[in-house]
């Protein structure tokens, strides 16, 4: 018996265990919970515990929650707000991150290692505290807000003068903090793809009479598209489902979808509604994920 077990282990048992353990773990603790959520979205809210039931003639064909997601303006607005905020944050990250990544490629080796460490450092420090740091800057009485207020009042006619710049609890604050927290996700893939470029191509283009901007537009930019896509998706995907940032600095009257899901679930105790919104959000997320993996596969193929 023991000998047979040992032979099985040598032949394929060790491999089965290696595959099986993490497989089983993800099936139980990731796939199963998600399938339960998908099933919940077809249920009905009840005042029991757990607050859900599956009734009617066709218990699993109750699409009411989905009808509300598509029909109720609240949900559509939340989806649009989320996509707009995440899209804006992605574009701003690209506009700031691209020259920074390019700059990192151009500084000396010693500086580059230090600066790269400085890009990665915020990523290791607490996400929550990075959001919190901006709460301190944006508040009405903070030195930063007063600085902005004073410069605004100096520049515009007296009639337009303001007491303070309204920043907290606006969509502007959400986008600003998103750019701040997700910028490293943009810089690092961009740097990785720019660093690989052959500098002699730039020189060749220069020798053939291109001006620096033309070199950038015709040589550097097209070659960095995989980095742009990777960085863009790494910013967009987490930003669209963000919960912490809109809760702390966002506008409660135009909630983002992550906050809406959480509110439906915890405050309203409406599990079917929260689940339906979650499923729709995931379906929307499939599109950027496909784009991302398409370019990843292409980048790996060209290596």
């Amino acid at each position: 018996m023991l000998a047979r077990l040992s032979r099985w282990f040598d032949r394929r048992g060790w491999a089965d265990i290696l595959i099986g353990a993490p497989y089983l773990w993800l099936l139980i603790f990731f796939l199963l919970p998600f399938l339960i959520v998908a099933a919940m979205s077809l249920g009905t809210k009840t005042p029991t515990a757990p607050p859900i039931s599956f009734g009617g003639e066709y218990p699993l064909l109750n699409w009411d929650s989905y009808a509300r997601v598509l029909g109720d303006g609240l949900y559509l607005r939340a989806f649009l707000t989320s996509l707009a905020n995440a899209g804006l944050a992605m574009v701003l990250c690209l506009l700031i991150g691209y020259p920074m990544a390019l700059g990192l490629c151009r500084v000396s080796n010693g500086w580059r290692n230090i600066l790269l460490m400085l890009v990665i450092l915020p990523f290791w420090t607490s996400f929550l505290l990075r959001v919190y740091a901006w709460m301190g800057l944006m508040g009405r009485n903070s030195w930063f807000n007063r600085l902005l207020t004073d410069s605004w009042n100096l520049l515009v006619p007296v009639d337009w003068a303001v007491k303070s710049v309204p920043m907290m609890n606006t969509n502007f604050a959400v986008v600003l903090v998103m750019v701040y927290t997700y910028l490293p996700f943009m810089i690092l893939p961009l740097y990785a793809s720019l660093e690989r470029l052959d500098p002699t191509l730039d020189e060749a283009a220069m020798d053939l009479g291109s001006r620096p901007f033309q070199v950038f537009r015709d040589v550097t930019l097209p070659q960095s598209v995989p980095g742009i896509v990777a960085g863009g998706m790494l910013v967009f995907i987490p930003a669209a489902g963000e919960l912490v940032i809109p809760t702390l600095v966002g506008d409660a009257s135009s909630p983002m979808i992550g906050r809406l899901i959480s509110d439906e679930f915890s405050a309203a105790r409406n599990w079917p509604m929260a689940s339906a919104v979650a499923v729709v959000l995931l379906l929307i997320m499939v599109v950027p994920t496909m784009i991302y993996s398409h370019y990843q596969a292409k980048a790996e193929g060209s290596k």
Binding site: D10, W14, A15, L18, I19, A21, P22, Y23, W25, L26, F29, F30, L32, F34, I36, M40, P50, I96, P99, M100, G103, L104, R106, V107, L115, M117, L118, V119, L121, P122, W124, T125, S126, F127, L128, L129, Y132, A133, W134, G136, N141, S142, W143, F144, Y180, E203, I237, P238, E242, L243, V244, G258, I261, S262, F265, S275, A278, L282, M285, T289
Partner: protein
């Protein structure tokens, strides 16, 4: 290109100012004597003193460290198994689903992962009586699940770079497959396993959203404690706590970076020596 890239250097300076001014401002205001968090009222270290005697903060920190240690260790074991499987086993039945399961937690919005874990735990308690109450165990299980895929990504990338010839040589010399795994593969990828563990540890230590859904009465981690206070606004004692956390992690990362750089340089030097002595 012999022109100095003035524009790029300027953007870099502004970029790093953007990165670090909020954090520096937070550090400065943690030494603020005034109770109003954003108005300067003179230098003081009183918030640090009151922090040191705050039992709640210390207990939350201990719970966070405990969860991070346990979840990072199990996540590293499972993630390493996953990474090796995906890099070495080629096609096997159910690989498509497995790849999907490993990728999905990376893109799943945290709020959805949190809610689905909570619903899962509630229903399980209803159906089979487990878990009896939510807290340390449920938080740890949820953390393992979403941090193991990060470990797996790192390990898989390292495995794809590693030289398979060494493993084949060990096989040819008569090692059994699992001996190859423990004696050859794991030592070769050990730096990746270590960075995977560190990443899993920090992810767990930092998580708010998933923890807030999977926690139960009495189990308050440090991020949850900060989260509940921060929702009410900016306070000087959170500034002090944040400063301590940022400085601890910052120093840790810098030291780890230096140590890893040195180890890498030494390894390269050793390799050069080895090749030279072969000639």
């Amino acid at each position: 290109m012999n022109r100095r890239p003035v524009f790029l250097i300027t953007v870099l300076c502004f970029g790093f100012a953007f990165f670090y001014i909020p954090i520096l401002s937070m550090i400065v205001y943690s030494f603020n004597a005034s109770r109003l968090a954003t108005v300067w009222g003179g230098f003081s270290t009183k918030w640090y003193v009151s922090l040191m005697s705050n039992r709640q903060v210390i207990e939350a920190l201990m719970l966070s460290l405990k969860i991070a240690l346990v979840s990072a260790t199990i996540a590293t074991i499972l993630g390493t198994m996953t990474g090796i499987t995906l890099a070495r086993f080629g096609k096997f039945r159910g690989r498509m689903l497995f790849t999907g399961l490993v990728t999905a937690p990376l893109i799943m919005p945290e709020v959805i992962t949190g809610i689905s874990s909570l619903i899962f735990f509630i229903l399980m308690a209803d159906w089979i009586g487990w878990p009896g109450s939510r807290g340390f165990t449920t938080i740890t299980l949820a953390h393992i699940t979403f941090s193991m895929v990060f470990v797996s990504t790192i390990v898989q990338a390292r495995m794809l770079q590693a030289d398979r010839a060494i493993e084949e040589a060990a096989m040819d010399l008569g090692s059994r497959p699992w001996q190859v795994l423990f004696d050859v593969t794991l030592p070769v990828i050990s730096p990746a396993i270590l960075s995977g563990w560190l990443l899993a540890f920090t992810i767990s230590l930092d998580d708010v959203v998933i923890t807030s859904f999977t926690t139960g009465p009495g189990a308050t981690t440090l991020p949850l404690l900060i989260w509940s206070k921060v929702k009410l606004g900016v306070t000087p004692d959170i500034n002090a706590l944040a400063t301590l956390m940022v400085l601890t992690v910052g120093m840790g990362v810098v030291v780890a970076g230096i140590v890893m750089n040195r180890a890498e340089a030494r390894r390269r030097a050793d390799e050069r020596m080895a090749y030279r002595s072969n000639d």
